[in-house]
Structure formats: C-alpha cells, structure tokens
C-alpha cells in the first residue's frame, strides 16, 4: 500500500513557475490538508494531480506506477471537486446527479447520496432555484454517489470543498470524507483553515505551499 507519491513535481503557468520540486507522499486512508496563500498553486496542484493540467517536470506515482503510463486508469480513480459547481440550472437535482453517476458508471440509485447531504427534499427542484450552499451540497453529493458504488474513485481531489457550506453541511462533508478514508481512500483537500480541518484532523497531514514554489510539511 504505497498510495500517492509525487517526485520533484513542477507546474508552469504562463511562463511563471507556480511550484517546483514538489515531493509529496500520501498513504491510503490518510487525507492531506493543503494550505497556502492565494496564488500559491493549490488549485494548479489539484489540476495536475487530476490530470487536467500537464506537469512541467517530475512525475506522479500511484501504488508505485507512474500515472502517465495509463492516463485512462488514473482518470477513473479521480473524483474532482473544483471551484465551480457543474450543475445545469434547467435540470433538477436528481437529473444533474444521475447524469454524472451514469456517465462515470456509478450506481444510478442516487437517493442515498442526496440524503447524505440533506437535500433529498430538493430532488425534483431545478438547480436554478438552489442557493450557493445547496448547489455545493449537490456537487458534493457526487462524492457520496461514488462512495455508494462498488468501484468508486479512490483519489478525492477537493479544491476548497467547504466554500459556502453551513456548519451542518461541513459535518456531513467531514463524515463523508472520514468514511472514504476508512475505506483506504485518499483525499487531498485545499483549505484556508476552518471546521472541516478540525473534524478530520485525526486522519489528516498538513502541507503548506509557499508562494515561491516549494513547501513545508507540518
């Protein structure tokens, strides 16, 4: 069980090095809380780890194998939550979530996922009437849908997942993440501190990205 390892990972955006020589190691069943100032490269690191951005140098290993050897297999193990909520305003909560579940080959019975984030009463409401927090809950319910499936993603990349959530929803998210970690999953979570960090502190390591590019483990 080796988990996820990065070797001398670098990322260049618009001729500027966002981070260079980044070495990370995350064991299965652990979370990594990624902090750093605005512009320190947290989101870029997430996108590189997801395979959305190419790395400028270095490589990423999953269970000892370089992920560039089989990008399709890597994409299949990633669940990515970005800044935007990929929901269609004209579609209901159920339709939005079921589309992603079917596209990713997850369990199409998505009601439990809606329950997990307490939005089951909004199941038949078009997403255009959702508040920002409710949209975020529906986006996060994708994680629960993956968790309830037999071959859900093992690597969760959550880019400031608690944005806009009330304390109750943050607890729901923390429970979902803890259940994922208990299943030997890995979660990398970018954060600016807050309740989520405290709730999963027992199973989380910390890493701070410096604006210059390198980082400090803590």
């Amino acid at each position: 069980m080796q988990g996820l390892i990065t070797h001398k990972l670098s990322c260049i955006r618009g001729e500027r090095a966002v981070f260079t020589g980044l070495d990370l190691e995350i064991k299965p069943g652990r979370a990594l809380l990624l902090s750093g100032a605005n512009g320190s490269g947290k989101s870029s690191l997430m996108r590189v780890l997801a395979g959305l951005l190419p790395s400028a140098a270095g490589h990423i290993e999953w269970e000892g194998a370089d992920i560039s050897a089989d990008p399709d297999a890597h994409r299949a193990r990633v669940a990515y939550i970005g800044h935007a909520d990929p929901l269609k305003p004209a579609m209901t909560a159920t339709e939005n979530l079921r589309f992603w579940a079917q596209l990713y080959g997850l369990d199409p019975a998505i009601e439990p996922a809606l329950y997990q984030f307490s939005i089951e009463h909004l199941a038949d409401v078009p997403a255009r009437y959702f508040s920002a927090g409710q949209k975020r809950r529906l986006n996060l319910a994708r994680l629960a849908a993956g968790q309830n499936s037999t071959a859900g993603p093992a690597l969760w990349l959550l880019d400031e997942p608690a944005t806009g959530l009330d304390p109750g929803a943050v607890s729901m998210l923390a429970n979902t993440i803890l259940a994922h970690l208990s299943n030997d999953g890995i979660a990398i979570i970018s954060t600016h501190g807050g309740r989520l960090d405290e709730l999963i502190a027992d199973r989380a390591d910390h890493f701070t990205l410096q604006t210059s590019g390198s980082g400090v483990a803590g």
Partner: protein, 221 residues
C-alpha cells in the same frame, strides 16, 4: 456508445427546456431568406435562379447562431473538466455535441427549407435536390462548427472570432449544396454534387470530432 447516447439525451433535454435557442435559429433562417426579394425585387423568373444559393447562405448563418454556446456553458460551470475526466472521452463528447446541434438546428432548417423553396418559386423538380443536399450538408455545418466552438472557448468576443474561423470552411459546402439545387432547377444531373457532399460529410465525421477534442484539451489546460 452508451456515453454518446447519454450525452445526446442530456443536450436534447437542455435544448428543450432552454427553449428559444433552436427556435431562434430557424426563425432567423426564414426571416433572413424572406428579406432578399425585398432587396433584389420579386421577379418570378429571377427568384428560382438565386433561390438555392440564398437558402444555403442563410442556412450557414443560421447554423452559426447557436454554435458559440456549444461548449461555453460546460466550460464556465466546470462540467467540461468532469466530462474530460469521465470514461467517455472528448472525441465522443465532440461527436455527441455535433449530433445534438444538428438535431436541434439542422433538422429544423431541413423542415423549414421547403417553405422557403415555395417562396422562391423553385420548380417541384428541385425540391428533392434541396432536401438531399441539406440532409448531407447540415451535419457538416455542425461537425465543422464544433471545431470552431472549441477553438474559441475562453476567447473574448468568441462569437465574431468563431464566424471568421468557420465561415471560410463552410464555402465548399455552400458551393456544392447550392450547385445541386441550381443544377436541378436547370435540369442538369446533380449526382456529382451530392456525391462530393457525401464525401465531405464522411471526412467531417471522421476528422472533426478528433480536431474538436484536441481543441477542447487546450481549453481545459
């Protein structure tokens, strides 16, 4: 294949609920074509000669109206990232988007075209050429248009740029599409034009999704 069906169903569902976009393209198609006789005069002998060309030019412009939005909303709300990470792949996505665009635009133009043919006093013998040429030509507009829509993602004033990129690529379709109708009006054989259009369609089907996927990959980075 399941992914393709799923994506097309989603696009059609959104188009049905979004409502006006597809209808606007076909209303524009009819209105713009109706304008020409006011400008050039309604001579019943001249209209059949220019009718085929005008219907095709207006069809190109109408098909472009809804192209800009083909990928932009998925790009803005982060759906494109997830579509890329899904097992379906960007090539299938490009094909599904083009197919959905054709079903919501090209098919409606195809249905409206005979009405315009009546307005332009086209002889009954030219109706077949009009329908078949549009059946072969309008999918090319959606497939090639997808490349432009993907290339202009994230660009400021993407709509104008899209027109500059794509309209030159539509010229071959225009030449052979309008040529088939003109040929039918004049009583010449139209087999060669339709065969060339079929060739374009096959080439676009094979190459356009691949090019669109490459452009989308750039937009995601």
């Amino acid at each position: 294949m399941i992914g393709l069906i799923l994506l097309v169903k989603r696009e059609l569902g959104l188009a049905l609920r979004g409502g006006t976009d597809a209808v606007m393209a076909v209303v524009f198609f009819v209105l713009a074509a109706v304008l020409f006789p006011f400008g050039v005069g309604a001579d019943p002998a001249m209209l059949p000669r220019i009718g085929g060309g005008i219907i095709w030019v207006v069809a190109l412009l109408a098909a472009m109206l809804s192209l800009e939005r083909m990928f932009s909303s998925d790009h803005e709300d982060g759906s494109l990232d997830l579509l890329y990470l899904s097992p379906v792949g960007l090539g299938t996505l490009a094909l599904a988007k083009a197919l959905a665009h054709w079903l919501t635009t090209g098919v409606l133009l195809l249905i409206a075209a005979p009405i315009l043919a009546l307005l332009y006093n086209l002889p009954a013998s030219a109706f077949g050429a009009l329908i078949v040429s549009m059946l072969l030509g309008t999918p090319i507009l959606s497939l090639v248009g997808g490349i432009g829509a993907a290339l202009t993602l994230g660009a400021r004033r993407g709509g104008v740029l899209l027109a500059l990129l794509i309209l030159p690529l539509y010229i071959p379709v225009l030449i052979f599409g309008a040529g088939a109708i003109d040929g039918a009006v004049a009583g010449r054989p139209i087999g060669p034009q339709l065969m060339v259009l079929s060739g374009f369609l096959l080439a676009a089907l094979a190459l356009a999704p691949w090019a669109t996927a490459a452009a989308l990959r750039q937009a995601i980075e």
